[in-house]
């Protein structure tokens, strides 16, 4: 067993071991995972021996992209639409397998859990190996997941350690929960395990804290940033106190802006962004707007440029300018509702 730090060279070393049928403990976008070539029966057997996992209990796999995903599982058109909402991200989706991976990984009914991670190391490794890789957490069955290598090593008896060929150490990971597991094999979407981001039904999430609301905002933004070449407009609707400003704070934090406050008093605040290709974040609060004439004076059109992100609280009042916005920007509707005093439902519509 060898321990290396997470750096550029780690991918190459990990790739060699995966290709030769070895077992790796490595960081991911959720917890430390156990990686092996999912198409190599011997490697998968070794992994199952490590986990003490009962035979017949499926293990999900990482894939690099939608094309690799399509080679492993059957996807209907309807399912594809849901998948593009979720992936890449901390979601594992269960779909009918095509028996292209070790049969030990699929369930007795032939279902396979797949996910496209959102973590540079794993993504690079997947591209280099060009095969699906197992995506199971690096703890023994029935034990909690690991966020750093020390606690993991502490838990392992020597016999188990000998099964692992390489550990990639990235220090302590943020305490994200394991991925949310969603069963798409039936018509109705079913949640098998709740992760951090809770997917309640199509296009909608449940948040139980401001922290989660921000996470959902970051997740939503991240997807749009990679796919859109137009300015992004978030139209956020919801009652007083439901967490609209918190949602915008989540967007801001992803862009490196930490000082977002409610713009109710001044109607709008703009922020310069120094991260990625984003230039400006403009945060509007239409709470006090009554007359649509107002919009002329907010300078909205001048902000509708590539690289800018506009967020509108009390977005229900944008009706008057929706056509202009639609013409020039990519719109993301965010509808926030009280479930109770602590919980919110956040629906995203593109």
């Amino acid at each position: 067993m060898k321990i290396i730090r997470l750096n550029e060279g780690a991918v190459l070393e990990a790739c060699k071991i995966i290709k030769s049928g070895g077992l790796i403990v490595a960081p991911s976008d959720t917890v430390y995972g156990l990686l092996a070539d999912a198409t190599n029966g011997a490697a998968v057997k070794k992994l199952i021996a490590f986990k003490n996992r009962p035979w017949g209990k499926p293990i999900s796999v990482f894939v690099s992209d939608f094309s690799m995903l399509g080679r492993l599982v059957k996807i209907s058109k309807k399912q594809k639409a849901v998948l593009s909402e979720l992936l890449p991200g901390p979601f594992t989706v269960i779909l009918p397998g095509k028996q292209r991976v070790s049969k030990l990984l699929e369930s007795e009914k032939g279902m396979l859990g797949v996910r496209i991670p959102d973590y540079s190391f794993i993504n690079k490794l997947l591209h280099m190996v060009n095969k699906p890789i197992t995506a199971t957490s690096a703890n023994l069955s029935g034990r909690p997941a690991h966020y750093n290598v020390e606690t993991l090593l502490h838990e392992l008896p020597k016999k188990k350690k000998d099964l692992v060929d390489l550990i990639v150490d990235a220090g302590t990971l943020p305490r994200n929960k394991p991925s949310t597991v969603i069963d798409l094999t039936n018509d109705r979407l079913k949640i098998i395990r709740q992760g951090d981001i809770i997917f309640s039904k199509k296009h909608s999430f449940v948040s139980d804290s401001p922290h989660r609301t921000k996470e959902i905002a970051r997740f939503t933004l991240k997807k749009q940033l990679t796919s859109s070449f137009r300015p992004l407009v978030f139209i956020i609707e919801g009652e007083l106190g439901v967490g609209k400003t918190v949602f915008v704070k989540g967007i801001g934090e992803y862009l490196g802006i930490e000082n977002i406050i409610s713009p109710t008093f001044t109607v709008s605040y703009e922020y310069d962004v120094k991260i990625g290709n984003t230039k400006k974040l403009v945060h509007f609060d239409l709470y006090n707007i009554i007359d649509p004439q107002e919009f002329k004076y907010l300078g909205i059109e001048t902000y509708l440029k590539k690289g800018n992100i506009l967020c509108f609280e009390w977005g229900e009042k944008t009706a008057e300018i929706l056509n202009v916005l639609k013409k020039k920007a990519k719109i993301i509707f965010v509808k926030m509702q009280y479930i109770n005093e602590k919980k919110r439902e956040i629906a995203i519509k593109l």
Binding site: E239, L240, G241, V242, G243, T245, V246, K249, N259, I261, S262, T264, F265, T266, V267, S268, Y269, E270, Y271, Y287, N288, I289, I290, D291, Q293, E294, K296, Y297, L298, G299, Y338, E341
Partner: protein, 353 residues
């Protein structure tokens, strides 16, 4: 040194001529009456009104002062608020300040609106009253519709933000509670009056947010949610019957949080001299609470000595600018001066280094 100061950060168009700490003339054209109808600042009106009013406000200021060459020729420096505030409103004041500075060949000073509120407790009338001297350091609080900040006011033009709101401002929370109960805008004064009638008593004990957090930041959105939920379940006749109890309890939750955090700041810094500015400190009950707090720590608290200094005004901008001028903090390239809607005091301090 005579300074012509302009503030158009929100809904007041204000221009003042100051000399040192003395206000020679200050004119505020308020759009509050216009905005009352709308329940908040009304950007179209704000921008247009600023544009329409600014020249006449400058004229009105000048009228009070007599000078053979004309008042504008007699001033030494032009000062203007460059943030924080509403972008389209700030632009009007900055544009006018640049124009005057160029036309009369005057130096230009950019003032953070919050600096103005911090200095507002030291502003004197034209006779130089009140006469109290500076005794640094102070804990400065700005509590208004747009801001809630605790600042370490170390010396002239030297600030360190110790805590600030992470979501809604205290005044905004009061405005929103008033609106939920159909009390109109601005909410502060009517809430003050109704609460007083209810004996400023805390009937419902709404949650005080952030009291457990170790820092000095504020958050009022949780309180807003709790209040929304509480009155949502009330029948409207019940709501109307209990309106004084409701607003009094809400006001108490907001003020108790402000006082709690201020006390924490006193303990952390060992500073027991307070200056408190901003629209919310027009509230006499809150002043009473601050006096009691200062007394508890054998310190002092200062408020803006005249009512008009609690709200937005150019006089306080002129006085802050005077101390910036003493430190030669002039705008080096006026053409490049731009509004910074979320300007923080920290930015300002860095510039002064």
């Amino acid at each position: 040194m005579k300074i012509l100061a302009i503030d158009t950060s929100a809904d007041e168009t204000s221009v003042a001529v100051t000399e040192g700490r003395r206000v020679l003339s200050n004119v505020i054209y308020s759009q509050a009456l216009l905005h009352k109808k709308w329940g908040g600042i009304y950007p179209a009106l704000a921008k247009r009104a600023h544009e329409e009013r600014i020249d006449s406000v400058i004229q009105a200021v000048s009228k009070k002062l007599v000078h053979p060459m004309g008042v504008l020729a007699s001033i030494d420096t032009v000062a203007v608020t460059n943030g924080p505030g509403l972008a389209v409103a700030l632009e009007v004041g900055i544009g006018k300040a640049k124009e005057l500075a160029q036309k009369y060949k005057k130096k230009l000073i950019a003032v953070n609106h919050l600096e103005g509120h911090i200095y507002s407790s030291f502003v004197q009338n034209s006779q130089g009253n009140p006469k109290k001297e500076f005794e640094f350091p102070y804990l400065a609080l700005v509590i208004s519709g747009g801001h809630t900040e605790i600042v370490l006011f170390k010396n002239h033009v030297t600030y360190q933000v110790l805590g600030e709101t992470i979501d809604d401002a205290a005044g905004e929370a009061l405005d929103k509670a008033a609106k939920l109960l159909g009390l109109g805008y601005p909410g502060g004064p009517v809430i003050e009056r109704l609460s007083k009638e209810a004996g400023n008593f805390d009937f419902y004990h709404f949650p005080r947010p952030m009291l457990k957090s170790k820092d000095l930041n504020f958050s009022f959105s949780g309180l807003k949610t709790a209040f929304y939920y509480f009155i949502k379940d009330l029948k409207s006749e019940e709501k109307n019957k209990k309106i004084k109890e409701l607003v009094s309890s809400f006001q108490e939750a907001v003020f108790a949080t402000v006082i709690f955090k201020t006390e924490k700041a006193i303990k952390q810094t060992g500073i027991n001299k307070l200056v408190v500015g901003g629209g919310v400190i027009a509230n006499l009950y809150l002043r009473k609470k601050f006096r009691a707090l200062a007394k508890k720590y054998k310190g002092d608290v200062y408020f803006p000595p005249y009512q008009y200094l609690t709200g937005d005004n150019a006089a306080m901008i002129g006085v802050a600018a005077y101390y910036k001028a003493q430190k030669k903090l002039f705008v080096s390239d006026p053409a490049k001066l731009d509004r910074v809607p979320r300007l923080s005091l920290v930015d300002n301090e860095l510039k002064s280094l």
